[in-house]
């Protein structure tokens, strides 16, 4: 790679793949900077950044991991929220009709409910919060099957291994999933906001800091916000 045209390496949470592709395409319309995207689970990417992985920007699926990096002095500035996730209840089984009141989860037709790991995935902790709030958690906890990430949780639902489950709106509106089963958006006021943040990393400091900063600020531009919205995220 020539020094005239810097290559940025950005670490992106796996479930942001399509969104980031759209963002890069949009960005490259005005700026030829080559952008390599490394996908991975937010947690794993964080571990790697803490061990000097050569990433310039980290686009996380939550706020906790970017904050961890900032606290450990791996960031050039504090992380900023770029979008907010929307929790949905989704089922691919024809006889099941998801409803926002969650009462159907107690039905015996439903043997397993997929949820992302509340410890590691923000969508998981949001779903758990919601279940507790509706006083259902203890009643359905034996039916819960935990996916390691929101994508794995979605695979449980998509393959009908789980009868129903909580996942991200960004997944159910994606081009691979949009015709599969039925989903319903859950009331955003009933769970804490699932904020997703990005952070500019220490590694960017040096010859391609300018390019990195340029793409980083693009993530918060109106053009980017339109793309987030289209992809099933909430933007402020």
């Amino acid at each position: 790679q020539s020094s005239k045209q810097p290559t940025l390496t950005i670490a992106v949470a796996a479930n942001m793949q399509y969104t980031i592709e759209a963002l890069v395409t949009e960005f490259n319309k005005t700026d030829p900077t080559k952008i390599d995207v490394v996908l991975g689970a937010s947690g794993k990417l964080t571990q790697q950044i803490m061990h000097d992985a050569p990433f310039d920007i980290f686009v996380s699926a939550d706020t906790k991991f970017p904050q961890t990096l900032a606290d450990a002095h791996f960031a050039l500035e504090p992380p900023r929220v770029y979008a907010q996730g929307v929790l949905v209840l989704w089922s691919v089984r024809p006889e099941i009709q998801p409803a926002p009141d969650l009462g159907l989860l107690q039905d015996t037709v439903i043997k397993s409910i997929a949820i992302a790991n509340p410890q590691t995935a923000p969508y998981g902790s949001a779903a758990q919060f919601l279940l507790k709030k509706y006083d259902l958690y203890n009643r359905v906890s034996s039916k819960l099957v935990t996916g390691e990430s929101i994508t794995q949780t979605s695979q449980f639902i998509a393959t009908q291994s789980a009868d129903i489950g909580f996942t991200a709106k960004s997944i159910v509106v994606s081009k691979e999933m949009k015709d599969k089963g039925k989903w319903v958006e859950l009331n955003a006021g009933d769970y804490p906001p699932i904020e997703q943040a990005a952070v500019l990393l220490k590694n960017a400091k040096g010859n391609h800091e300018a390019a990195a900063r340029k793409f980083y600020s693009f993530l918060y531009s109106p053009k980017a916000k339109a793309i987030y919205k289209q992809s099933g995220y909430l933007v402020k």
């Binding site: 997929a114 790991n117 590691t120 996916g147 291994s161």
Partner: protein, 224 residues
């Protein structure tokens, strides 16, 4: 907070898988070690295939196969009222499939290296193929059997991708120690991760040491 459920579950899974594998693999390995033909060569290559795919991917394909929405899973659910996804039985089956080559290959190569006259001697004494296998051939390939058992056992203990995919991380049911460690690392609880890893290592180390000591005794008596 360290729980012992996952450790216990892991041991149950590892012992169960090793046992089933042994029962499945011995006849298969014996068949493979017999007179060679192309068909056997192909089967032998196929046995190794589960190794080639990343565990999570195998897990994904098994998820598809076991899913109650599809043929096989549907059949199981309707006729046997058995759902393999997110259950211990499912884990067991998945582990058996995934670790099959570790059990089959060493036993097969052990059997191939025995002098053919041993088998013939047992036949001439009127023993069936089964009796010959169990009482003459297997006892004389102890080092190979040990390799097979150690590799299968250890691999099942550390196995993680498939278990994660098929098991659904259900505490006490499908949340094995390897997943517990993974979760702790993911959430930066290094201390807990280290404790789990330590327990796993110590337990496995002791198990292996016991196995090897048996082997050591056999070896000292001078082996074939």
């Amino acid at each position: 907070m360290i729980k012992f459920d996952p450790i216990w579950l892991t041991l149950k899974l590892a012992f169960g898988t090793t046992l089933i594998l042994f029962i499945v693999a011995v006849p298969l390995a014996n068949w493979l070690s017999g007179k060679r033909n192309i068909f056997k060569t192909v089967i032998e290559a196929i046995v190794s295939m589960p190794l080639v795919l990343p565990p999570t991917v195998i897990g994904f394909y098994l998820l598809l196969a076991f899913s109650p929405a599809n043929g096989f899973g549907k059949w199981l659910e309707q006729w046997l009222n058995l759902r393999l996804v997110f259950s211990f039985s499912g884990l067991l089956i998945a582990s058996v499939i995934y670790s099959l080559p570790f059990m089959v290959h060493p036993i097969r190569s052990g059997l191939s290296s025995l002098p053919p006259s041993l088998k013939e001697a047992a036949y001439s004494l009127g023993k069936t193929k089964w009796q010959t296998l169990l009482k003459v051939l297997l006892p004389n390939i102890k080092p190979s059997m040990l390799t097979a058992i150690v590799l299968s056992f250890a691999h099942t203990v550390g196995e993680f991708g498939v278990v994660l995919m098929i098991g659904g991380n259900m505490p006490g049911k499908t949340r094995t120690a390897s997943i517990a460690i993974y979760d702790e690392v993911e959430t930066f609880n290094y201390y807990n991760a280290n404790v789990y890893a330590g327990i796993l290592l110590v337990l496995s180390f002791i198990t292996l040491l016991i196995l090897y000591s048996f082997n050591r005794k056999t070896q000292q008596q001078g082996f074939y």
